[in-house]
Structure formats: C-alpha cells, structure tokens
Subunit: 604 residues, 2 copies
C-alpha cells in the first residue's frame, strides 16, 4: 500500500512545482545553466529510511551547506575552545557574504557566514597522508554514507570569480585569524563548496545530525554528541543568515541552505529533511526549499517547541505489596509476618521516558515515601527512554536509601536497565516480573521480621500449596506414590514439547522455566522454588510441555508420574477426585494471579 507519508510528500511536491518565484544563483557562470524546474524533497528517518520525491538522485553542488560539516570537523579536530578563539558563535544578523568581523580582533561572528567558514576550512590540517581537503570530503562522505566527489567545472568557475572570498581570506590573514597563506585556503573553500551531493544525500546528512552524530545507514559515529550539540545550536541561530529568526519561529528546526539550491533541516532525535530546487529568494535560500520546509513542519508538528515531548509524570501507580502479593503460599508464621509488614515494601509503576521530567517525578515519589517503607520496587517495564540523569538519580536514591537501611529493587522486563547498572559495577536486584520482585521483597521482609520457622529450605510434599486443600492422610497417600529425583545445576528436567509426564513437587532448590519467544528469542518465564509444582501446565496445551524446565543449583523433586495418576483413577477414584480438584484449584489460583498482574491500573 502507498504510504500516507509518501503520498503526502508527493502531493506537496506537485503543488509546490507551481511555485515559480526566485532565480537560480547567478554569481558563477558555471552554475547559471541549471534547470530551474529540478525539484526534489527527501525525508530521512533516524533509523535510516529515506522518503524520496522528484529529482532526488540529481547531483548539484553543496555550496554553503558544507559550512556546518567543516565546522564540525574543525571542532572535532581541535576542540571547542581552540575553535572558539578563531570563530565566534553569535548571529550576525547579516547576509551570508557580509564581512562581520569583530572590531579589533577580526574574529568572524560565526561559522555559517563566509568569513567564519573560510576560517573553519583553514583549521583542517592534513594527517595520515591525507590533505586537509581530502579529510573534508571524507567527512562529508561519512555523513552522506557514500563517497562524494567535487565538480571540477564548478570549482574552476568559483576559483576564477571568487574575488570577494579571496578578499575575505586575505583580510582574515591580516588579523591572523587565518594563519597560513590565504589563497590555498580560499581554494580549498571553493572546492568544498563544489562537492556534489543529491537531495537524498543531504537528507541522510541531516538525519545523521538528528541521530546524535551516527549515520543511520552505515551505523558509523561521525560526530560526538558535544560537537553535534554545538553545530546544531549554531545552525539554529545562524544557519539561515539574516532570515534565521524568522526561520526558527516559523519552521523551528536548525537548518542550512546553499546557493546551489539545496537546503537541509534537522529535528534532533527525529528526522532529517532536505529539499533541492535552484531558484533562490533574496536571502540566497531555495524558494521551494523554504516553502516545503515550512509546510512539512506545520503539517507534521516538527517545530522544536511543538515536537518537544510532554514531560509527563512518570508515575503510573504506587501501592504496597499487600495489594499485589506474589501469591506464593506461605507458612502460617510467614503469612503473619507479611500481614504485619507488607506496608514496608512498595511497588511504584513508572511509564514514559525518564528524561528530566520523568526522572524528577520518580525521584520526588521515592523521596516522599514514609521512612517505614524499606523496599522500593520500581516497575520499569513500561519505561521507554532512560537518560543518563535517570541513572545518576537512581544511584543517588540508592545511596541515600542504603544509609537508612532501605533498598531499591527493579522490575525490568527485558533486563536492559539492570544490565546498564551491572556494567557500571552498581548492580541492583532486578526481576523480570512483578510477581518475582514481590516474592523477593516478601522473602526479605520474612527474613527481617520473622524467624527460622518462616522460610523452610525444604518443603514436604504434603505441605506444598498445590496439595494443601487435601486431608493429611490423602496428601500422605499421594506422597507415598511419588518417586524422588535429584538434579544438578543446569540439568534439563522437562523439555519443551515433551508429553505430560506427571506433576513435579519441588522439595528443595529451585528451577527456571523458559520458553521460545517469537522470532527466535528465548524468554525466561519464572523461577520456582521449594513447595511449588511444575509439569502440570502441559495439561493446558494438548498434554505437551510448553516450557523447558532447568535446575537452578541442586534440586530435589518428587514426581507423581502420569501413569501413576491413571492407575489411581481406576484403583482409588475418590483419591483421584481429591487430586484433580486440588490441581484445578491450584490452576485457577495461577489464573487469578495472572489476571491481577495484567489488570489495567489507572492512577486517579
């Protein structure tokens, strides 16, 4: 099916093809012959998809759009401070070819006007057997994701007619802003302006800027974030010359245009936009380029103020674990301990992004908890993006809490956050599901507030939750029919797709169940420990095991084999009824737990 975005761009392209204002650049004879009707719009996403309409593969010279890229290379080579001594970052409010040098020092106002751009070019030195200019072209190529070349014809014409830029280079040399011979600098600058790009190339270059400096097609990191912050900031205030203020007000994206008819705009984090159409307005920018950018920004909500994500409160729900118990059956002693102490552990469900606003709301919620809350379980499964400030603040919360003997626990479904903490050597207890995190918290509370009666390492079959509805003599009679087995760490006890083989009761140790996820992933489902059962789930899926069960450490189990159950049904139907009834109840206890876990929670 035709994409609505593609068809939107096609409609816009058709409509703006009727806009005939402006004239192609006439300053260089070699550029005068361009076809004014050439027109392309490209939009590249930060994951590397490029929408293309019109003459998107047509090559033209990059001209002033080269400026932010050379500036970025200079900043990467020399650092911000060294470059700042040569070129300021202030809007000049002047046209691209104005002189705009600071009185006394001769420092150009910014790197988007010609004086600043010439200076930036002068700062790129050769290295590794490559000339400075070779490095410039390779830098642009890394942005575009393909090898770019120079139009020799246009370069020659620029070199022949570039009196004003040569004058600027000499003037800059007189102030010692440019420190080498000015003519070769001007020639490198003419060459950089003569690099051939397509509209598609420009959109990928813009998307690389939008994508934190990483080219979304090649995956290569071309600029680091600090430099890219600087480049986009200067583009925002100075990129459109004397039209910069109106541009930012109206279009709201850092941008750069060139007299070759190209224009690119960047919405950080989202997309790169490029337009090619040679006729220019009075500011030297493509008429259709400006209009297309304006229209796309309005229609798609791309203005930086509008595109800012609402920094919502990240707290989805907050409740103590008594509202969402693990559901694990406990001894009476343990149940008493939990009843009295469940308020000491609290689940806070977060969602959205942990950028500043989300992080702040999380920090505030945790800081405001009563000091009697000892364990704070942060359910991060619905959190989308986690900024560095969130990790810092979590670390500070953890430190402050630890001083008071309190602790943080994460529920982190896919484990990505827990992994980032582990890499930093500051692991936090983390679990894939709420049930397991709450189980952990309950165990902590029982360990702190109960005694050894509460947490037996070994659970007798007769005491297992599954058989608890049975009379003692019935449970004992079933136990007598079971076989005892022992497994070592990592042993597979049940394998996926095996036939129902009976019900396993864990006497001591624990097992882990996994299942294949879609598209070849493997999903850890649960950890089961002493007193719990497995194997019976196969009854719900045509008698086939749906999970693989592995020993986690040494495990002792008792097995009530499938054949024994069948025999029991004919030899002692009364006891068989009791067994099946108990298993039904246990199964529905599971269903109940899942329903509670998945129920929609809405905070008032």
């Amino acid at each position: 099916m035709d994409s609505p975005i593609q068809s939107y761009l096609r409609t816009l392209h058709t409509e703006l093809a009727g806009l005939k204002d402006g004239k192609p650049f006439g300053g260089i004879p070699a550029m005068a012959g361009v076809d004014p009707d050439r027109f392309a719009i490209c939009l590249a996403t930060v994951d590397g998809y490029v929408y293309e309409v019109g003459d998107s593969g047509e090559e033209f010279t990059i001209q002033s759009i080269s400026k932010p890229f050379t500036y970025g290379l200079a900043l990467s080579d020399l650092g911000l401070e060294a470059v700042d001594r040569k070129v300021d970052v202030e809007p000049s409010g002047n046209a691209f070819n104005e002189i705009s040098l600071a009185p006394g020092t001769g420092r150009p106002a910014n790197a988007m006007i010609n004086a600043g751009a010439l200076t930036a070019t002068s700062l790129i030195k050769g290295s590794g057997g490559k000339t400075g200019f070779r490095r410039i072209v390779e830098h642009y190529s890394a942005f575009a994701g393909r090898d770019l070349s120079v139009s020799e014809r246009i370069y020659q014409s620029e070199a022949r007619h570039g009196y004003r830029n040569r004058a600027l280079a000499h003037l800059l040399r007189s102030f010692e802003i440019i420190e080498q011979e000015p003519d070769p600098v001007a020639e490198d600058y003419f060459r950089q302006c003569s690099v051939l790009v397509t509209c598609r190339d420009l959109s990928v270059m813009a998307a690389t800027l939008a994508n934190g400096g990483t080219n979304p097609l090649t995956g290569k990191q071309v600029l680091d974030l600090e430099v890219e912050e600087r480049v986009l900031s200067v583009m925002a205030t100075c990129g459109m010359y004397d039209d910069a203020g109106a541009w930012l007000s109206d279009v709201g994206m850092p941008a750069k245009s060139g007299v070759g008819g190209g224009l690119l705009a960047v919405l950080p984090g989202q997309l790169g936009l490029a337009v090619y159409s040679p006729p220019l307005n009075d500011h030297g920018s493509s008429v259709r380029g400006v209009e297309a950018s304006r229209r796309i920004s309005h229609d798609m909500g791309l203005h930086f103020v509008r595109a800012a994500r609402t920094g919502r409160n990240a707290i989805r729900a907050s409740y103590d674990i008594a509202d969402a118990p693990s559901g694990i059956r406990r001894t009476d002693e343990a149940a008493d301990v939990l009843r009295d102490n469940a308020h000491r552990a609290r689940v806070i469900e977060l969602n959205g992004d942990l950028l500043f606003a989300g992080t702040e709301s999380m920090v505030r919620e945790v800081s405001d908890l009563d000091e009697s809350v000892e364990l704070i379980i942060l359910d991060m499964r619905r959190v989308d993006e986690t900024a560095p400030v969130a990790l810092d603040m979590l670390e500070q919360l953890r430190t402050s809490l630890a001083k008071a003997g309190r602790g943080l626990v994460l529920i982190d479904g896919e484990g990505a956050l827990a992994q980032r903490f582990e890499e930093d050597g500051r692991a936090l207890p983390s679990f894939a599901t709420r049930t397991s995190a709450v189980e952990f918290a309950e165990n902590q509370l029982i360990a702190s507030y109960g005694d050894e009666l509460c947490q037996p390492a070994t659970v007798d079959v007769a005491d297992s939750p599954a058989l608890s509805p049975l009379a003692a003599e019935d449970a004992a009679a079933l136990a007598a029919l079971m076989e005892e087995h022992s497994y070592d760490d990592g042993d597979v006890i049940r394998r996926i797709r095996q036939r129902f083989g009976g019900v396993y009761f864990i006497l001591s140790g624990s097992v882990v169940t996994t299942s294949p996820g879609p598209e070849n992933s493997r999903v850890k489902l649960s950890t089961l420990s002493a007193g719990m059962t497995f194997g019976e789930m196969a009854l719900g899926s045509a008698d086939r095991q749906e999970t693989t069960v592995r020993a986690h450490g040494t495990v002792r189990v008792k097995l009530l084999p499938a054949e024994t159950i069948s025999r029991l049904e004919s030899e002692n139907p009364r006891l068989a009824v009791e067994l099946w009834k108990a298993l039904t109840r246990d199964a529905y206890a599971h269903v109940d737990r899942y329903m509670r876990e998945t129920a929609v929670r809405i905070r008032d």
Copy 2:
C-alpha cells in the same frame, strides 16, 4: 527523605555563592542599594512542583524578563502578522539597549531589545474597563499564578533616568512604529520593568512557557501554542542579546535575563528554571544566573539537542494472529477456516511515543504489509504520547485500507485513544486486551471465509471447550445434571465475594466480567460468549468469586451446581474424576494463554 534534586540544587547554590564576579545594575539610583549576596535558584516542573533554594521569596524587579511576556500578549491580542509588521524576529547581535532599527522603516530587529519591547508595550490597548498596563500586569500575574504589583519607588527612578528609552520611544514614533504619544508608552514600559517578582514566580512563569502555555499551578491556559512557539523561538535566538549564540550553544534553552538580577530558562515540555542574583556580567545578565543555568543544563542533560527524545521505531513486534490465537475453542469448521486464513489478520505491537518518528515507523510498517492482510490490529497499550500527526496518519491509513476492503483495529487498554477517535466521529473497533481483539479478528475471518456452520449462536453443553476432553456419554451424563437459567441484559449472575456456586456453561448470548481495580477503579476483564464457562475461577481464590459477572444482552446458561458436584464425587467418582480432569485442563489452558499474552517479546 531529602530529594536528590533538592540536595543537588542546594550543593550548587552553596558552591556558586562563592562566585563574586560582576556588579549589580547601576543605571538607576533606586536599584543601586541591592544586597549583592541575595541568591536563589528555583526549578518548576510542568506538573507544578517547585524546587526552591536560597532567597526564593525575595522580591525584585522583573526588568527585561518582562519583554517576552508583553510580546506574547501583543501577539495574542493582534495576531502574528500585525505584530510582525511592527517588530521583526531577527537577532540583532547587539546589546539590549542598542537602537537596532531597520534602515528606512525603523522596524526594531526583535522584541527582546528595548526598541522592540517598547513597541510591543505600545500595542497593548486597554479593554473591558482596564488600561493597557493593567492588562499587562494581569497577564504576568496569570503566568506567575499570583497577583503581582509594581515597585513605585523603582518605577519613579526609572522614569526619571530613562532618557535613552524615552529617546527610543520618540524615534519609534517618528517612524510611526509607535502610533500614539511616545511618553506614556515609555512610562508604561518603565512600569512593566518595575513589576516585582520572586525567583519562585519566575520559575513558574518559565514552567508555564514549558507547559504549552498552561500555568501548571492554576491550570489556566495563558497563551496558545502558536504564540508560545513564537515567543520561545524569539527567546532562543534573541533572548540573551549579544550572548544569544553562546547561550544556545552552551545552555541550549530559550532564556531571558533582566538587569534586576533575574534570569529564566525554558526547556519545552519539561521545566522552567529561574535564578536570582544581582551582580551582572558585561552582557547585563546575572553572573551566577548564567553559571547556574550552564551547570544545571550540563548536569541534567537539558540542552535542546540532548534533551530531544530519541525518535525510535515504535514497532515492538509484528506477527500474524496464528502466533497469538484468542484461545477460544472453535468448531472444527471454524478452526479449518482460521488455519487457512489467520495470515489475513496481523497484530502490530507499538511502544514509545507517536510523535513524528514513531508515527512514521507505524505508517511504514502498515503500508508495507502484504495486501492479503485484511485486518491490522494495532496494539497501542504501550504507546505513551500520541501527537496530532499520529491521529491524522491513522485516519489516512484507515481510509486507504478501507478502499481496499481492509481494516484497522485498536488494542487500547485504557481506551483513551479510542475515545479521541470517537470524539472526532471516526470510531475504530477497539479492545482492552489482545485476546479480545484477536477474537474479534477471528470472528471476522470466520464470517468472511466460513459458512453458517462456523459460528453457532448456541453451543450445547457437551460441545463446550471445557467438556471437550470427555467421552460423549460422560458429557451427556453431566449435562443431564445441570439446571438451565436465563438472564436479561445487565442482570448480575455472580457477584464478587460470593462462594463457589458451581460451573456455568453459556448456551447463548454473552456475559461481561469486571473486578474492582486498586484505588476504587473498576476494571472490565473479559467478555465470554456461547460455549465458554464461568464460576469455576472461584476455586482459585479460596472458593470466593473474584469477579462480578453480568449478562450482556439476554443470556442462557446451564449450571452444574456445587452441591451436585459434591454429590457426584461420592455417587459416581469415576465421572467426577473426568469432570475435574477436564476442568484442570481448561484452567491450565487459561494459564497458558495468559503466559503467552504477558510473555516479553523482543524484536530482533
């Protein structure tokens, strides 16, 4: 517990109190006596929480920070075009008190320099019995969330010494940029600069700008989004005068400072920051204000490039419904139809934000589907923010799909999105859970590709999925023990907390189950239809009904009462074993379905 953000701000405040550079404003005698050690930092969130450190309640005059607010009022009063004819939006690159009028027209470069600010003030007319100046103060007060007043003493001193501003007003009058008598305009301007604010006020004013123009304390919409986009854009390029470029590069937030020592900065969507400290730098901005903003921006990642949310692909998983069947048992005919046609319905799980980038990835995924996919189920439960562009694109997708006889279905847990579509009169089928959406899709496919055999309106007890493992004569024997009941729409069949009363088999019609959510919400859990069972769930929760079951339309059921089951266990234990075994399998089929529904899916 002390919040880490509060303690971060306190540490910063202590540290920067040692920074003694700069001098308080000396241009007006009444302002010369200020204590240079007064110092406050406030940070207000878009949900209205204010962090305050230092002298946050101390009043001082707003001075130039008034400019963006008066400009916003002028834009609201007259519209953008009318104001633009009087004041441009270009950075002047000059100091705040430079003249910067366009040659010929006299139009000030922007509303952040004095000439533009005087012009904006001249545009505010009285109305509703209020003077223009009264309206200005009320506008500022709406931003601050409290009634602000004027320092008469400072106003008098400004009025006596404001020769330069009076000159500017007369000059603007000579160009007819100001159309009334210039002296009263200058006096209103001196008065607006003399409005008293606290650092806390400024942070709330900034948070109102960050919050799309709605004051987070009062909930009042003070500016509309179009005007606020403009105001923040002009603050970004011109707010810090001749320091604007360096500020945006380094701090990366639209901002405004005043010679009274105040400074505010805005991160759209996230927060408002304000600092008060009278000693000024050469640009007329608070030394500590600039340094505190810089530090907070770096430490919290607030630069507009860095704070931009990564526009990730919103597609979490995509699979056809055969990979996630509803689990509802079908007739053999229906099962055949589904086996052959399940690929015609596809679930696409989305997450993150549907701003531009997320929307684009959704649109692309749907557009690229094979045309044989007729029903596209968008699982929106993990989607956080939905921008207008997402609704537009969903609408366009729906229209394009409908032309080809294809359709969209939403899974929208909390129903918010479905509601927005309904309000616009363009309702889409939407469901709270994946299971119910898939059931709907299955029914559609069966209706399209099957015949009347497939979807019986009435299901005999013996054919219910729960009893399907039984031999036909056993199922018939159980059916003979059941009582038939009929209910009307809305009748409560089982009420929460009732004791286990037996197993209900739905013969025709459907029922809805609900349960109380935390914090007094009510959660709709499921719709059950002919062939399905209820009541047995109570066995999993100490024999107490955990849900309320209501008739949805007229419903006929057969009930196998609890007492009948008990009697059966002693009179016909073999049949009782078969019943309980069947119920166990059915229960585990439920567990299996839940596990599949909640399993973590990770896309490769």
